[in-house]
Symmetry: C2
């Protein structure tokens, strides 16, 4: 009457073998084993093989806590986010973090997640990350100019790179997507379609990239005043509200450009509630190219940002910096427009 599938018996974790035991079995010193482990070229091929054999047989794995204590590195990278909850629920951050983690894994590093809430900063936990040797370096995502604590890392000489945001005057290491070019492409496209009355729903101007979008937009539409702009705070909710506000002021709008896809989705929602057809009556353009943007009706025209690649590159550069490279990191990744269904030629009056 055996149960159809045996529950697993929980064993006591086995005692791990140490480097000393390997040294003993191989008849060498622990120094030699250590050097074999670290591919130190001083070791002869012969002893290298002899020691490897013992290591493999014993299934020995070096304790990385001990390695970190003796050595210089923890081989752990921190990812700092403002609020974890919304950040992680967001495809934008998801791509960024995936890029970081994949690259880190390939370069033999672990990644730890940290949410930099106000009290985290107040208690200087961001510096504790280094002082207590939790990490060798950090990547910062989703912060803005008001987050002055970001300067602390450089001041203290700790490797840190900002991903997909800019703090040019701070002289901080950064990897960003080209928001300027992306915005330029959108404006060119909308103007080619004949649109002149265009509303902009931008993200919070605390964020440098939002300011870039606003800046380019204004340059490309000198005839439009600030009543054509509205803050959508990066969210669907505010995207909806912003759309209503814009349309109250300018019922003759023929296009809405949003600083991210979530706000664009909010705009489409608002337009649909108002019985306005997209793109027949109003065109909508987003920014980011999150997965959902393909699945809404009409599918959203937007700018593709290489978030995964940005995370990947930032991580690679950070590790180089940890290893002693000293040039300032300041990379820009190119972006491109993705045409879908939410945009069309301007309707005739």
């Amino acid at each position: 009457m055996a149960a159809p599938s045996e529950p697993i018996t929980r064993a006591k974790p086995a005692k791990r073998v140490s480097i000393r035991e390997i040294a003993r079995q191989a008849g060498v010193s622990t120094a030699t084993v250590s050097m074999v482990l670290n591919d130190n070229p001083k070791i002869t091929q012969a002893t290298r093989e002899k020691v490897r054999k013992v290591i493999d047989r014993a299934g020995y794995q070096p304790n990385r806590i001990a390695q970190s204590l003796s050595g210089k590195y923890t081989r752990v990278l921190g990812v700092l986010l403002p609020t974890l909850r919304h950040a992680l629920a967001d495809p934008y951050f998801g791509e960024l973090i995936s890029g970081i983690c994949d690259r880190a894994a390939r370069l033999g590093h672990k990644v730890t997640l940290e949410s930099a809430k106000p009290d985290f900063i107040r208690e200087k936990k961001h510096l504790e990350l280094f002082d207590r040797r939790f990490v060798d370096g950090v990547l910062c995502i989703g912060f803005n100019d008001r987050h002055v604590f970001l300067k602390d890392f450089a001041k203290a000489g700790h490797p840190m790179v900002v991903v997909n945001n800019q703090f040019d005057s701070w002289g901080v290491d950064q990897v960003v997507c080209d928001y300027r070019s992306g915005t330029d492409q959108v404006m060119t496209y909308l103007q080619q379609l004949g649109h002149t009355k265009i509303g902009l729903i931008h993200g919070s101007p605390d964020v440098f990239t939002s300011r870039v979008i606003i800046d380019v937009f204004k340059h490309r539409t000198p005839e439009l005043d600030d009543t054509f702009l509205e803050d959508g705070h990066f969210t669907e909710e505010h995207g909806i509200a912003a759309t209503h506000a814009l349309l109250e002021r300018h019922p003759d709008l023929t296009a809405i450009f949003a600083g991210n896809d979530k706000m664009a989705l909010g705009a489409m929602r608002a337009l649909s509630l108002r019985g306005i057809k997209v793109p027949e009556q109003i065109s909508v353009v987003g920014f980011d190219d999150i997965p959902y943007s393909k699945f809404v009706t009409p599918a959203l025209t937007t700018v593709h940002l290489p978030f995964y690649e940005a995370g990947d590159l930032a991580c690679e550069r950070l590790i180089q910096r940890i290893r002693g490279k000293n040039d300032r990191i300041n990379e820009t990744l190119s972006t491109h427009l993705v045409l879908r269904e939410s945009t069309g030629i301007v309707p005739r009056a």
Copy 2:
């Protein structure tokens, strides 16, 4: 001619003070400092204060690498995910991980992210996590019955809890949302509205929770055969395809129930492409209550799953288990229906 904003000068990281230095300054032994640090009750109030003062003045922070090497714990938890990229771009995982990270931080633990790709498993990296002392325990998210490697942790005696999936026959520790009750609520509601021709777009049946939904659905609609079911593989794309397939077979369908919101969103997209009105002609119900579901038009009726709470609870329980608690972890969190706009009374024929 000073620059408007000085770029930061990158300092050399300062030399950290050690416990020995604190001991010297306080005129006690390192053992005493250590005991003060760990709130050991053996220490007198007087010496405790004396030592604390020196610690504060020096801004001393214990090196946690050294602490881990001497002590029993690393105070690091691993979060294991199948594929990072899609997982993190998904609100479902985002909530789960936020719940885990927040709780971990409150209990003084760090969280490291690990993507369990096929070669990760093949190279036994999941056990290396423990063998090399990267973590004290792991939380597993998004796996299914084919991921037999999950048994390895329990076999080796390593603390592991599965979050929001079930492996009942494996006897593994788990924290899950109540899919059974959620599905039951959906079926009751749809049947109250008069629907009898209901199509089910379920997630992959490898996943236990998908099987629960299928099981309840069949029990509640004994008159419907398997042609009313279609696999939507948890994605929007397949949700679209599944909807078309279902409607080809049953043009008289009046309701579609999807095993997650993404597939439900796909269904709405497909219906819209076919010119079918939701909910006037067909009602749509999702599962998960991801943020987007409120912002589509019509807003999606769905089942709310407490993902954040599941992550939080799983993390708390895992830490208890690490600390020596030995009871099997098997918790279920309740779910509830959220009525929005995508459902309505059955249309008369």
